[in-house]
């Protein structure tokens, strides 16, 4: 494959050259263990502190409130399990939503199997949580609300500030998985009353294998990974110095560019959405139209199946995703698409395109054109489309969603 158009930035991003350059000396040159006493290793301790400062500042937190972990998944697990176990005496009820990342859902499922009560809030057709539902769900025994900042599949941004306010008013701890939101939209943990927040480096042009959990001062969070005295006794394990340095650098580069870059991405995003709707019939945008991550497009193509679509795109050099990368390999359609009420038929035929720093208008035009051919080809092969043409069935998109398609 000669051409490569990467449109899966929500799955992972390349580390920026500036990030790689910053990390590089820490592999072979400044390799010391930051817990060591000698000067040589103290340099690494300072490097870690610098990254911690950068990340804390980016979310308006204090440095002591930022803890490094191995990624977004560990951050989610730690936050939820740590609070659940430590506040057990106060209650056993956790509130989350049906559209969380598996790192959150499966941790909640695990707790549910182990004596906790979990409420999985419904979302509306755009993927938004209903604030009144949240209010109604909170009870005496509620110890934690965990609702993601922005969805990784459909891009919908939740009303985090309102959620934070309600949690605060009710004395309930609030965790948010901000893996997809961090450095894409401005976050202020105080203004939004966030008590714990998960971040991941490889989604923001930093290295893989590193992330952070923000823990508001005063929150008692039991360790998930016990061991040495690293991370102020809260997370054992020799610090992943190069990755921490790279993560810090990625944030340092991304933050000043945030406003401008997100504007650029939003424009590209909306252009592409429009283009596909113009060129391909029987399509439906999933997720909220405006309360949406600047880099996320998620579209269902009726009568066809997503994996075939992805493979054909791949053969044209286009890297995209269907559902989330984490669930590919699984045969069930994405839990997020089902949660927003998509029938299985069209949930299966959805495509996630997530754009990023290298994405151009020309790339998206190429992809839109490719989609025209590919979708037509797959519909030609589809017995469901045949049934539709023979008027044996109706178009779900036409009837249920009133989205007109032109053949």
């Amino acid at each position: 494959m000669d051409k490569k158009i990467y449109l899966d930035y929500a799955a992972t991003t390349p580390a920026r050259q500036g990030v790689i350059d910053e990390m590089l000396p820490y592999f072979g040159e400044y390799y010391g263990n930051p817990s060591s006493i000698y000067e040589f290793a103290q340099h690494n301790k300072e490097a870690i502190d610098k990254s911690r400062d950068i990340i804390a500042e980016a979310i308006k937190a204090k440095a002591q409130e930022v803890f490094f972990v191995s990624g977004g998944t560990e951050a989610d697990n730690w936050a939820i399990r740590g609070i659940a176990e430590n506040y057990k005496s106060k209650g056993n009820h956790i509130i989350t939503t049906k559209t969380e990342h598996h790192a959150v859902i499966h941790t909640c499922d695990f707790l549910k199997k182990n004596g906790y009560e979990v409420t999985y809030l419904e979302v509306d057709a755009d993927g938004l949580v209903n604030i009144d539902d949240l209010k109604a769900a909170i009870k005496e025994t509620t110890i934690l609300v965990t609702i993601m900042y922005a969805n990784n599949e459909i891009g919908t941004i939740q009303p985090i500030k309102e959620i934070g306010k309600i949690c605060k008013e009710n004395g309930v701890i609030f965790h948010t998985d901000a893996v997809q939101a961090f450095t894409h939209i401005p976050i202020d943990v105080n203004e939004m009353n966030i008590d714990l927040m998960s971040m991941s480096s490889h989604k923001i042009y930093g290295p893989k294998g590193i992330g952070a959990l923000y823990v508001r001062k005063g929150i008692r969070l039991r360790a998930l990974i016990h061991g040495g005295a690293q991370e102020r006794n809260r997370r054992g394990g020799t610090e992943n110095v190069p990755a921490i340095v790279g993560f810090g650098k990625a944030v340092e580069i991304a933050l000043p560019e945030l406003t401008e870059e997100s504007k650029r991405l939003e424009k590209l995003r909306d252009y592409f959405i429009e283009l596909v709707h113009e060129k391909v019939p029987y399509v439906k945008l999933n997720g909220h139209k405006t309360k949406r991550l600047p880099n996320n497009v998620n579209i269902s193509f009726e009568f066809i199946e997503g994996e075939s679509l992805l493979i054909m795109l791949d053969m044209k050099g286009v890297c995209a995703s269907s559902g989330s990368a984490c669930t590919s390999g699984s045969l069930d359609p994405s839990h997020v698409l089902l949660a927003i009420g998509l029938p299985h038929e069209i949930a299966h035929g959805s495509l996630r395109v997530t754009i990023g720093i290298s994405t151009t208008k020309e790339e998206l035009e190429y992809v839109a054109d490719s989609l025209v051919t590919i979708v037509a080809r797959l519909r030609e092969m589809s017995p469901v489309y045949e049934d539709y043409i023979n008027k044996e069935i109706e178009s779900i998109i036409e009837t249920k969603y009133n989205l007109e398609g032109v053949i």
Binding site: E305, S308, M315, L331, E345, S382, P383
Partner: protein
Amino acid sequence: MYTKKVMDHFTNPRNMGDMDNADGVGTVGNAKCGDIMRIYLKVENGIIEDCKFKTFGCGAAVATSSMATELVLGKTIEEALHVTNKAVMEALDGLPKAKVHCSLLAEEAIQAALWDYAQKHDITIEGLEPPKETDHHEEEEEDF
């Protein structure tokens, strides 16, 4: 992920299309599991003279239906009945574990089309069962 053969049958599916006045048509699978296969047969003197398919599904679903049509074309009904999912898989040089169910679906699609042919022509094909709704999703490897 897929073998070269699978990719070949996915990108250049054999016998893809529909058929006017088919002698038998079988549709199996459902939208819930994400795969629907339809097989059209033309049978003359007990021999499968023509075979077409349409498939809604993943790469493996398309490839297994394409391969299945190839395997039954020119065969007697008897022989076609013995085109198992294993034969389809072997002919494709294998499938990922998670995709084995596609080959089962292809086997069933052939049998469903044969069943339809038998019904329409009021004959009995020995060893052929009426098609039933099945779900071929494998259990997760281990449950922890």
